[in-house]
Amino acid sequence: MALLEARGVNVRFGGHAAVTDADIDVEVGRVTGLIGPNGAGKTTLFNVLTGLQPCVSGRVSLNGIEITGMAPHDRAQRGLARTFQRLELFGSLTARENLLVAAEIPRRFGAPPAGLTAAQRVDEVVDLVGLGAFVDQRADELTTGHARLLELGRALVTRPKVLLLDEPASGLDADETAYLARLLRELADSGLAVLLVEHDVPLVMQVCRRVYVLDLGKVISVGTPEEIRVDQRVVDAYLGQEVP
């Protein structure tokens, strides 16, 4: 069974169906990709998983426990962490303080390893993600690349089981993207379940073992990157159908 599971998720905005009957599995030890053209419903689905968006019907479970109606902070306490497409850093705090806020929130499940203070856990993540160069800068003064890394680091400080990343590569240059790809694979290898929403399809193809393609709110294809690449439905979704 997958660590994070969504079954039959439906979301409507007024008369518009944003997500229709979506099923998603996010498994331990690998990066799962979620791609699709603009307006396909990726971020909406993400918000459903993390509890920021209620769904009309459907079920979400984490580690076998249903979390569909749970508040966002309860889900986070159970091991779900995320980043945001448009950065949601604490702009008036320094990068280190951003991490500290996350580290200092008491955990109800899975106490942090004994003997490590919040500050020490922050230092660990600073090393892991490579934030050392700008850790004392104010968050709203960081470049996009650094800000994205900081958001990733802030999610990691909470020691999540599942990590949901909403377009972590947007605004990064080629070097930063390559670094991110390496980092994501390392995180997955260390036993994390990662769900990656990304516009940068080459990155997804590079790091994901399994990719979901969303179009018009529906999952139109699932498979390995190789399978997805040759799937005619995916090509159509991305390139559109020719007007005769």
Binding site: H16, A174, P202, G240
Partner: protein, 249 residues
């Protein structure tokens, strides 16, 4: 790169001319020097993957976002810093991404909002209802309660009824079924036939290639290639899906 507008061989001034335009959201620069020339009377498709800067380019042209550097000329006039409402009144009709309608206004009130560019309500209603009889049936209905396709028709009615000089379309097809998209682009072709210059931003590449005379491929905040639509098609699939050969990175 002089301060003078470009004049092509026929002596005509291009309708849109961007030179080395840069633009940013806050400190994040999104356009890193866009050069773009759209001749008068043409339908130009600006294509590219998400995050390439297509919509931002359109926002800069329509005055919604001000460029941090470079020059923007419309019909030879420099328009850096001109406000979006003044450009709208001057005949630049922008249909934004998503639903370009006032959801809590009725169809008729939406049409009434189109009269700020100078047309009379009667003229707007006549033109809109003639092209979209369905809107006439629904004129008393709140725009937000119509289907996605109908809403998009209503927003497109502005391009039709206000007789603009330039029509800017941002992702007309977003979230719509292929048949509806087809119908909408049929209408765009009709507007083009009246001599209106059109700049279309699209992700659904093939859809647009049938309508456009010219196409530009945008990647990483720059227009990388300009050519005939057919020429660009091959390059597109690699840009989107990152095929092993010839990927953008």
């Amino acid at each position: 790169m002089s301060g003078e507008p470009t004049v092509d061989a026929g002596g005509e001034v291009p309708l849109i001319e961007l030179r080395d335009v840069r633009a940013a959201y806050g400190r994040i620069e999104v356009l890193h020097g866009v050069d773009l020339v759209v001749p008068e009377g043409s339908v130009f498709a600006l294509l590219g993957p998400n995050g390439a800067g297509k919509s931002t380019t359109l926002k800069v042209i329509s005055g919604q976002l001000h460029a941090t550097a470079g020059s923007i000329r419309l019909g030879g006039h420099r328009v850096n810093g001109v406000s979006a409402e003044d450009l709208a009144r001057a005949g630049v009709c922008t249909i934004p991404e998503g639903r370009g309608v006032f959801a809590n206004l009725t169809v008729r009130e939406n049409l009434q909002m189109m009269t700020f560019t100078g047309s009379s309500l009667r003229h707007v209603e006549e033109k809109a209802y003639a092209r979209f009889p369905r809107l006439k049936e629904r004129r008393g209905q709140l725009a937000g309660t119509m289907s996605g396709g109908e809403q998009q028709m209503l927003s497109l009615a502005r391009g039709l009824a206000t007789d603009p000089a330039l029509l800017l379309l941002d992702e007309l097809s977003m979230g719509l079924a292929p048949l509806v998209v087809e119908e909408l682009y049929g209408i765009v072709a009709g507007i083009a036939a009246e001599g209106v210059s059109i700049l279309v931003v699209e992700q659904f590449a093939r859809t647009v290639l049938g309508v456009a005379d010219l196409a530009g491929l945008m990647l990483h905040g720059r227009v990388q290639r300009v050519g005939s639509p057919a020429e660009l098609e091959a390059e597109l699939s690699s840009a989107y899906l990152g095929a092993e050969t010839g990927g953008p990175r």
